[in-house]
Assembly symmetry: C2
Homo-oligomer: 221 residues x 2
């Protein structure tokens, strides 16, 4: 009995079947260009935690806005017959999934689309470019103004400081990515990020596991 049979059995029995096959397109299907640098907050994690903690940052600190709610996109392309994850690199060091913080009252989906257009499209106001935001893959909590993240919320944590939700974003067969000059867009193989906490951090290094239920359907062009 080969793998085919196993997958077939699976298909016969699962309602979620259709959603467990993920179409991915070759990296060469996409166009990559650049645009002006964004007025990004040029800060590292330590700075940001300090700012969140401070009572004097009325507009963005925890005491003013509460939980920092973030959304990030898991976007895949094919290269060398293996799924690659799209990552943004800031200043040749930090790797990030495309996404960011929600505005007060903004929905996950709207916020993620806004962030994706801002960081990956020519027109920030998403003129024409739409993003197919799929299912939520996972969630990471920051219980305190510290660097550690957890995929669950302990019962003793009453006021978590940050929550980052990961959504699967499905690409169409072709698209133009226009990335701010101060960011680098990279396609990194799943096998390279898997359990590589040191280079990519908890969130990114756990993505291959969150995607493991899917079978990838590589569409050649």
């Amino acid at each position: 009995m080969g793998d085919a049979t196993f997958e077939e059995n699976h298909n016969q029995n699962q309602n979620q079947t259709s959603s467990l096959v993920l179409d991915i397109y070759p990296l060469s299907s996409y166009y990559f260009g650049s645009k002006e640098a964004l007025p990004l907050k040029d800060e590292n994690l330590a700075d940001r935690l300090l700012r969140m903690k401070s009572k004097y940052h009325f507009s963005t600190g925890y005491s003013a806005r509460g939980l920092r709610a973030c959304v990030e996109a898991v976007i895949l392309v094919e290269l060398f017959k293996h799924p690659h994850l799209l990552l943004l690199q800031v200043r040749n060091s930090i790797f990030k999934l495309p996404g960011g913080r929600l505005r007060p009252g903004e929905s996950d989906i709207d916020g993620l689309k806004r962030k994706l257009s801002r960081k990956l499209s020519a027109n920030e106001n998403s003129g024409g470019v739409d993003w197919e935001v799929g299912e939520c893959l996972g969630k990471w909590w920051r219980p305190d103004f510290e660097t550690l993240l957890y995929p669950y919320l302990s019962p003793n944590v009453k006021r978590p400081k940050e929550c980052t939700k990961l959504y699967l974003v499905k690409l169409p067969e072709s698209r133009k990515f226009i990335v701010p000059k101060d960011l680098k867009l990279l396609a990194v193989p799943l096998c390279q990020v898997h359990e590589n906490h040191k280079t990519y951090g908890s969130i990114i290094s756990g993505v291959p596991q969150l995607l493991s239920k899917f079978s990838f359907n590589i569409i050649e062009n």
Copy 2:
């Protein structure tokens, strides 16, 4: 803006909403008893890999049956207001999710129900006890007759040796668990298994991440 608002926004926008809230019941809702030991293959992983590799094990080896297809259950209960994962412990050492190998041609769901009845119910032929097998949470591959597992299949692996699929199994509000005497059934907090590869292995230590998209609804009784 507190977490409630974040979750509400989420709820307004997601089709998958209902499936993202998981009801869990207190450990005290369940009855635990024991039954005769199963005629289990008393072998460790090294022995099993050796047996899989051997051409002389016609009935169970790779050359005869191909890919070893396994299914395992992620079953949760509440204790101290935190989700706990049900694990079976073999000989005071190895921890396993309840489940096992599929028979040739058997579906994931049927095989998992059979294994769960065998290991967790009084009547092996599931007389009356049914199991609510939910979505597939993840998949782990063993590309070779070696101990390492991966949550993806590399393109150079043409004939993987083993695939283990994890399914969410939802418990009713009460149930009798009847466990073979040679196995111990444990409820281990998610915060203890998270990233604890050394004690629990890759599959179990990754479960909190695979569950992270869910919010837990603890039902008191």
